[in-house]
Symmetry: C2
Subunit: 380 residues, 2 copies
Amino acid sequence: MDQTLLMLPGPTTVAPRVLRAISKDVVNHRSAIFGEIYTETTELMSDVFKTQNKSYLLTGSGTAAMEASIANIIRPGEKVLNVVGGKFGERLRDIVKAHGGESVELAIEWGDAVKPQEIKEVLDENEDIKAVTVVHNETSTGVAAPIDEIGKLLRNYDALYVADTVSSLGGDRVDVDKDGIDICFTGSQKCLAAPPGMAAITLSDDAWKVIDSVDSNTYYLDLKKYRKSGAGTPPETPYTPSVTLIYGLFEALQVIKEEGLEKRINRHETAAEATRNAAKALGLELFPKEEVSSATVTAIKMPEGVTDKQLRGTMRNEYKVELAGGQDHLKGNIFRIGHMGNITYKELAITFSALGMTLKKLGFDIDMGAGVSAVSESYI
Amino acid sequence: MDQTLLMLPGPTTVAPRVLRAISKDVVNHRSAIFGEIYTETTELMSDVFKTQNKSYLLTGSGTAAMEASIANIIRPGEKVLNVVGGKFGERLRDIVKAHGGESVELAIEWGDAVKPQEIKEVLDENEDIKAVTVVHNETSTGVAAPIDEIGKLLRNYDALYVADTVSSLGGDRVDVDKDGIDICFTGSQKCLAAPPGMAAITLSDDAWKVIDSVDSNTYYLDLKKYRKSGAGTPPETPYTPSVTLIYGLFEALQVIKEEGLEKRINRHETAAEATRNAAKALGLELFPKEEVSSATVTAIKMPEGVTDKQLRGTMRNEYKVELAGGQDHLKGNIFRIGHMGNITYKELAITFSALGMTLKKLGFDIDMGAGVSAVSESYI
């Protein structure tokens, strides 16, 4: 009764069967039995990435995978084109700098998506760009970038294509092989709906060629070591992995397999449409341009005269629904509804029922049922 | 009936109450409720470290904490004295090199412990050593270093004292404040008996002074960011932590508090003595010098004519007891019995019962009960 509904862009609600899976006894991570679990989990990850390439598991958050994607491919002074339209684009840029790289920043207005043509122009002006980083789903602004079109463009350039799909994989269209993504990574606690603490990364032959030519700037995240250990007998990780969280990721990937990836993505798109329509029905304004809005998280402008504490505080304390706030300069200016993972009309009915009551309490003259009605229209 | 008993130097068997704790629903890691869990867990960690300094939690294995201890304190070219008497001493040395530092290696014979006088000589020959790394409990050889005596010595030098207590904290004597350790870290899956995947680190004011003067060579493990987020309202981590594993660590630390740290360490020492005596009673030879042998893991020479596969394979497949093998050049030459975490006479009775039968099967003319008898002598 008292349980809080997480409507966050991660961590998302973890299914009971996944929570049961993680409470199994821990096995030796240097044993054949673990080798099997590890191999099956990485193969299921490659299925979700839609790639023939191998995947690797990192014990750490999505940021660990972000750093692995950069620290293994650049030498000090080398150039990376960072598309930056939000907090996670900034993070990839900062990681390039932390490892001595030169970030060529392509700044996009927060709330808008990059156009392939803009990337083309920067690439044509700079011959020596080693990699291009694109955040598929900018969690901070609720914007999705056209990673497929960018992929088509980048086929004509030598630069590696690094795509951050932390908050999209398993919830929005990602096709690593078709889109020619060289390095793609994600976190466990977003659309995959596993507990937080694991990240997965997959790499193309071109990416490995670059990695083999560079001395890694990191030890824990040195991908050459993961490749070597992963090819061992039994397959393993270079350092003690979180066996517990791998149980969880494995089970969450089984859930995805049972649902079917295509169906799952359609379900996310329906939830996103329902969320946008319900927000508008309650008189709220979306933050991003609607045509570039995310399939997994919706950013909404804070209504005039309302503080973050009033809106999210009431949602949390009175109605037990946890929404996300804005980050950095968007703090207090937007709030975000995550609709990733195992989201159906039920969670959205609860969320917009609560949001209707919250807005009414805060003095808005609205039809409290309009949000839930709009949700129903998307699902009927 | 089919459950395998883990007698490894990590991961160790996780108590059912800890396994239940991790299957709780994941909460928002940017909320007051998580802030409380985080704060209480870090305070319990500081209690186990025996320090007034704050502790920080890293989502990652002990190796992540090893890297954090180095990457935040050195600039390229700066010197670190690495005491190397096994695989984990080597790892700290390699991390220094990976971050462009100059490792001054003090090589100790594998199976022996460093003497403070040896460290003194290197320090007196090299004025510009910025830090000294010591592995308290060298998991690969079953040797414990005298971290208290080394602490006394290092009070007379400016170099930071970095102590790796990954496989000792919570099972052997560690007193961060009394021993003047500047940077101390551990992993969740060793003597703390929590699931693998979390690491904890604590830092002195002197350590922070150095960290504040250096640009971190890492992003995910940038400790300045952990300090800043940890001091926030609510306290939090800079990147999504494994809320799930923090539940587990918190519960495992409660178990330690209930047992009492002193009693817990005595229990480990008894288990170590019982293991050594039981191994000798079965005609086996210890690998390290007995006076420097570890309280948490015992390394034993592989009996002549026996392969690792025969001994550990029989133990695993016939008797469902999982032991660890040797690493690197010790592969096949030693095997290791971990007696860390929640180990009592029961687990040792099983282990030495199984080892007696295994040796008999492998053709040794021994009294199969002699091991268990020796265990009993230590516990009566």
